[in-house]
């Protein structure tokens, strides 16, 4: 399977969208190579503002741009936007429902050995707790592009979390992403794996391994964390014997939390959350850290089998 950088692909898309939406203004927090906002800067220098290392001001400025009818796209790392500027995002963007798009890279533990300060394992929980804020976590370059298109067509604040890691291609141009809708990647009524972000690839691989053992496992990719596709979760709770959620995030408050909130109200099935078990990370590459956290194909498959016993 080919691997791509969703940051680079998304940045390329943003340049294309820049032609369609004259109102797009990209704001950067001094990370233009890492976020790849440099691509937009090169294409539209007059619609690009490098705000420097002053993220709170950057989000406030974005609110002002949106008030005056622009579509600000704020770029930085997930950790800084969700935590350093949390209050600006909540009070000056989400509360007045301003049309600001946060397109943040380095979600989860993808910054690897850069360390815990640069990891974002809390951002999904934080951003999804803010009313009016849509939270989108794509899993590969194609899905990231489609998420970006959908976010720009949507009126209101959106948080898009990208990974720093290269990702395997799962989606093709034939697939269609809609805000509020999950995508069904594998059919099956024995168990269900629900993934978000880059975990989609391990989820699919785990389901394929399980199938070889005769366990038909449904795979749902939940790129739209908020609004959440309640229907598809309720259906999985009714039709399958076990649900396993997989995310590059703390097991508290993210995808696992969101799925459990739905299942707790509908009942019918046990849910196992796979993710970071509420602690800060050790030193290592993203792959090393995922292995240590048992966020792997083998661990997912083992959990599914364990729950079906």
């Amino acid at each position: 399977m080919a691997k791509k950088s969703m940051r680079h692909e998304c940045a390329k898309s943003l340049v294309e969208l820049g032609a369609k939406y004259n109102e797009i203004i990209v704001l950067e927090g001094d990370l233009k190579e890492s976020t790849q906002s440099i691509q937009f800067q090169q294409a539209y220098p007059e619609r690009y503002i490098d705000c420097g290392i002053a993220e709170q001001n950057m989000v406030g400025v974005a609110a002002g741009l949106a008030l005056a009818g622009k579509i600000p796209v704020v770029q930085s790392f997930a950790c800084f936007i969700s935590m350093r500027t949390c209050e600006q995002a909540r009070t000056s963007v989400a509360y007045p429902r301003l049309n600001v798009k946060f397109v943040v890279s380095h979600g989860g533990i993808s910054p690897g050995s850069a360390g815990t300060t640069h990891h974002a394992i809390e951002d999904i929980a934080i951003m999804r707790a803010i009313p009016n804020m849509a939270v989108l976590v794509p899993g590969d370059a194609e899905e990231a592009k489609q998420v970006l298109h959908a976010a720009l067509a949507y009126e209101g604040p959106v948080y898009i979390r990208l990974s720093a890691s290269d990702t395997k291609d799962i989606y093709t141009e034939r697939d269609v992403f809609n805000i509020g809708r999950a995508t069904l990647l594998r059919e099956g009524n024995d168990a269900c794996i629900i993934t978000t972000g880059t975990m989609v690839a391990v989820g699919v691989e785990a389901a394929d391994q399980l199938l070889q053992k005769g366990v038909k496992t449904r795979v749902i990719q939940m790129a739209s964390i908020k609004p959440l596709d309640h229907g598809i979760i309720e259906q999985a709770a009714k039709e399958t014997e076990a649900i396993v959620t997989v995310e590059e995030h703390n097991i508290l408050g993210g995808l696992g939390g969101a799925v459990c909130e739905v299942v707790a109200e509908t009942g019918g099935v046990r849910v196992k959350r796979i993710g970071i078990k509420d602690h800060f990370s050790d030193v290592g590459t993203a792959t090393c850290l995922l292995n240590k956290e048992e966020i792997t194909v083998q661990a997912i498959a083992k959990n599914v089998l364990g729950m079906l016993k």
């Binding site: 406030g60 741009l65 007045p96």
Partner: protein, 278 residues
């Protein structure tokens, strides 16, 4: 010799103070101190300085006003009422159940409120964003952002100060209501701001210092904005917290609180008496 315009502004400010007292009595709570210190500034902005149209609040060319010190909402609401954006019945619902008038203003509830504010240190960045669009799209509007002096202890204010100077936003006017008090006491005892003027100047702003209760000075200075080509302007308005109500003046205890009993009576008498003088 006082010009008719200044006489008119003074009279409107007196009406505003009386209405604020009435509204605070109805509400039983609110933030009087900073509203009374900044009401003269807001009066001049809305009745003399800013290009606005109450019949067309979203007029594209209008000057923008952001009340960054959102807790002074009672001042803004009162001025919006006097300027024709809202009726008195609505004003008197301030902070009551299901009212449109929250303690900190919501832009989606009342026409004329440009931005929802309340958490301190946000407004100057938002104003800078609006000013930036004015530059990009070659529009002539000006953006006025009213901040509390205590508010400028927030680091984000200084991020915005750097940004506005860097981008030469001369269409942005920051106004600081320098009443020297914050909730817990004098700004200089809690977290000193002085030398205050020099701070703004060092950050690249053109600073004008005025008496924030002297309409001649307010009018003459705000009329000249933008004062300096290629630099944002900071109006350092020296004010008295609680101005116009004897027992509130310079008393930090009146940052927040409702008017009840004898104090309500005194405040009504004082604001009425001031109006009768005219």
């Amino acid at each position: 010799m006082i010009s008719p315009k200044i006489k008119e502004l003074k009279h409107i400010a007196k009406q505003a103070r009386k209405l604020m007292v009435e509204t605070l009595i109805c509400a039983g709570c609110g933030h009087p101190g900073g509203a009374f210190s900044s009401i003269d500034l807001m009066t001049a902005l809305y009745f003399d300085i800013m290009k606005i149209d109450p019949h067309n609040p979203q007029w594209d060319e209008r000057d923008r006003f952001i009340l960054s010190k959102g807790h002074s909402s009672i001042g803004l609401y009162t001025i919006l009422h006097l300027r024709g954006f809202m009726d008195k019945e609505t004003l008197l619902t301030f902070r009551q159940d299901n009212s449109l008038l929250c303690g900190h203003p919501d832009m989606h509830k009342i026409a004329g409120v440009e931005m929802s504010t309340g958490s301190l240190g946000h407004g100057l960045s938002v104003g800078a964003g609006l000013a930036m669009v004015g530059k990009m799209d070659k529009k002539n509007y000006r953006v006025f952002v009213l901040m509390g002096d205590g508010e400028t202890q927030e680091g984000s204010v200084w991020e915005a100060a750097l940004f506005a100077a860097h981008h030469k936003l001369d269409n942005l006017v920051g106004i600081v209501d320098r009443n020297m008090l914050q909730i817990d006491g004098c700004t200089e005892d809690i977290l000193a701001l002085e030398p205050y003027r020099a701070k703004w100047e060092t950050f690249g702003w053109h600073v004008e210092e005025i008496d924030g209760h002297n309409f001649k000075q307010i009018k003459e200075t705000l009329e000249r904005c933008p004062v300096s080509a290629s630099r944002p302007t900071l109006i350092l308005a020296n004010t008295v917290k609680g101005k116009g109500i004897s027992f509130m003046e310079r008393n930090p205890a009146w940052h927040g609180g409702g008017l009840k009993g004898d104090q309500a009576e005194i405040a009504l008498q004082e604001t009425n008496a001031a109006l009768v003088e005219d």
